[in-house]
């Protein structure tokens, strides 16, 4: 029972981590919340639904296609909305990107209809581990998520592009004085971040149902994780994402609906005591 709860929480937490890492990456570099993130998650899931379940392409290839397209779409959003409106304040960016979110949801709604769609499981079967029953597909998702997190860590720490992204997140003025193109770093981080959202959607599509409005809940959770963990802090997102998975995994088993109340109250308390988040260092006016 305990091992089962731990596995469930871990699987839930890893999906939050994937979502919120993309969000926090974009926030760190561009200093804005990427509101269509949930819609991009949904698009990632629909991409896999269409290419893998509809056209019958190999699952991993479908996942790759889906991530690439969603990442490109994220870059397009950056080009059309976020960058041109960058100087004009939060309100207009929020309005425009919420509009983009509804636009994407509406597009999928018209193309696929509003009913739940099921993507056939890629890895059927269950396995027993430490006395807990663990579906293989969830285990695979967890492994892929771990691998991706390490890959992201490597890219950000070691490659030139990753370093430039981190430099811009630290101080955009000094970064541009060093010859780093802030615009390019923003575009890159948006591509990576949205690609991560697409990946999360594509990975979870065979586990859950696919629906045009499926992005709202993960988006909400990702905002909570990113705020508590510290906006722009990837390690904060990883830790808090996993923690949220555990709070929910155990909370729903023992407390029921009040878990969500507790989570939101904790969010308010954290914001009041440490507005920059537990591991954050950025402060936004």
């Amino acid at each position: 029972m305990l091992a089962q709860s731990i596995f469930n929480s871990l699987a839930l937490g890893m999906s939050y981590v994937l979502m919120s890492c993309g969000l926090t990456l974009v926030f760190g570099v561009a200093l804005l919340i990427n509101w269509p993130h949930g819609a991009l998650y949904m698009l990632g899931a629909y991409g896999v639904y269409y290419v893998y379940a509809g056209l019958g392409v190999n699952y991993f290839l479908a996942l790759l296609i889906s991530i690439t397209l969603v990442g490109a779409l994220g870059m397009l959003i950056e080009k059309v909305i976020n960058y041109p409106l960058g100087q004009t304040g939060l309100l207009r960016i929020m309005g425009a990107s919420l509009g983009a979110m509804w636009f994407l949801e509406g597009l999928v709604l018209i193309a696929f209809g509003e009913e739940d769609k099921k993507v056939p499981t890629v890895f059927p079967g269950k396995m027993n581990l430490f006395g807990a029953v663990l579906p293989v597909d969830r285990a695979v998702v967890m492994i892929i998520a771990f691998v991706i997190m390490f890959a992201l860590y490597y890219v950000l720490q070691k490659t030139k592009e990753g370093k430039s992204i981190r430099a811009v997140a630290q101080d955009r003025v000094y970064a541009s004085l060093q010859g780093i193109s802030v615009r390019r770093s923003r575009l890159l981080s948006m591509g990576i971040g949205c690609g991560l959202a697409g990946l999360a959607g594509g990975l979870l599509a065979p586990i859950y149902y696919v629906n045009p409005f499926m992005g709202a809940m993960p988006m909400l959770k990702a905002i909570i994780v990113v705020t508590v963990g510290g906006m722009g802090s990837i390690s904060g997102s990883v830790i808090v994402g996993l923690a949220l998975g555990f709070v929910e995994g155990f909370g729903y088993a023992y407390l029921g609906t009040w878990t969500t109340v507790i989570i939101f109250t904790l969010l308010i308390v954290v914001l009041l005591i440490r507005p920059q988040g537990l591991l954050g260092r950025l402060s936004v006016e």
Binding site: L91, G95, G99, W102, V261, L272
Partner: protein, 304 residues
């Protein structure tokens, strides 16, 4: 419907005048409508008493929350208010006394007013309720208009422009921010109260995140610079467009989303500024001449 959102959006703009933006107005609509519904169904108080009382409840809660939470700025205040709205909704869902997830039903319509010597004024159908709503809207629009033009309104704007500078000339920043938030939430509560009696029923699901965003978007779409006409226009357009499209099936999110994006991208002042913007786009001789004149004047001044 659009009037209700219009009132709520005006309340939002008043908070925004001090430079903060709230993403949790649905929470205050919920507070207003639930307190009004409870007062009328459980205690048997008439609608006319419950309406201002609901606003008062909104004010008190907003003042209490605001005096703690308004210490945060910008995005962080937005996020806290957003979390607060969710907490309110979840508490309502989890409390059987408040109707739980199923909601409250049979909320009475406003009771008739009797003037001596005249026929009683009935509020049973949709049409009288519409006029009542119009009346409420006009009253709150007048209050907001006067408030915005008077000393408090100017104080709020001064805080938004530069809080530290405003403090240096003796404006207590926190006090005025809480004031603006509380007054805004009074009218949001009133709008919520009317909403409850208009629909006759309430469920917590009506006050989700989308509702909060809707209030915010009405204000942004209409234009935040004008406190009365901006929200009215925004709420009108949003409600009419989404209601019209709902009958055509699933086009609603697509069109509303597109409309929002385009307006936010190309109309900096919101819909209210569309006239001025069109004039700027058109290559009119009139405007060119004016620019030319201004230029020569500048040159003349420089050469002097």
């Amino acid at each position: 419907m659009s009037m209700i959102y219009g009132i709520a959006a005006m309340g939002w703009i008043l908070t925004n005048r001090t430079g903060e933006f709230s993403l949790g107005q649905a929470g205050f609509i919920a507070i207003g409508s639930y307190s009004s519904a409870l007062l009328t169904t459980k205690l048997g108080i008439s609608f006319w008493m419950a309406l201002p009382l609901a606003g008062m409840v909104g004010t008190v809660i907003a003042a209490g929350i605001g005096s703690v939470v308004l210490r945060l700025r910008g995005l962080y205040f937005g996020l806290v208010s957003f979390a607060f709205a969710e907490v309110i909704r979840l508490i309502i869902t989890g409390t059987p006394f408040l109707g739980g997830g199923a909601g409250i039903f049979d909320i009475p319509a406003p009771s008739p007013i009797r003037f001596p010597g005249l026929k009683p004024l009935e509020f049973s159908g949709r049409v009288p309720l519409y006029y009542l709503c119009l009346f409420l809207f006009l009253v709150s629009a007048y209050v907001f208009w006067r408030l915005d033009g008077s000393r408090p309104g100017k104080t709020f704007r001064a805080i938004a422009q530069n809080g530290k500078l405003a403090e240096s000339v003796g404006i207590y920043e926190m006090k005025h921010k809480v004031q603006a938030f509380a007054i805004g939430c009074f009218f949001t509560g009133v709008a919520g109260s009317f909403y409850a009696h208009y629909l006759n029923m309430l469920t917590p699901a009506m006050f989700n995140i989308e509702q909060s965003l809707w209030v915010f978007l009405c204000a942004v779409l209409g234009g935040v610079r004008s406190i009365v006409f901006g929200p009215l226009l925004g709420a009108l357009v949003m409600t009419v467009v989404s209601n019209m499209l709902r009958s055509y099936g699933s086009f609603e999110p697509l069109v509303v989303g597109l409309m929002l994006s385009v307006i936010c991208l190309y109309l900096p002042g919101g819909l209210i500024s569309i006239g001025a913007q069109i004039v700027r786009w058109l290559p009119l001789d009139l405007t060119r001449k004016k620019q030319g004149e201004v230029k020569t004047e500048e040159n003349g001044w420089q050469s002097r």
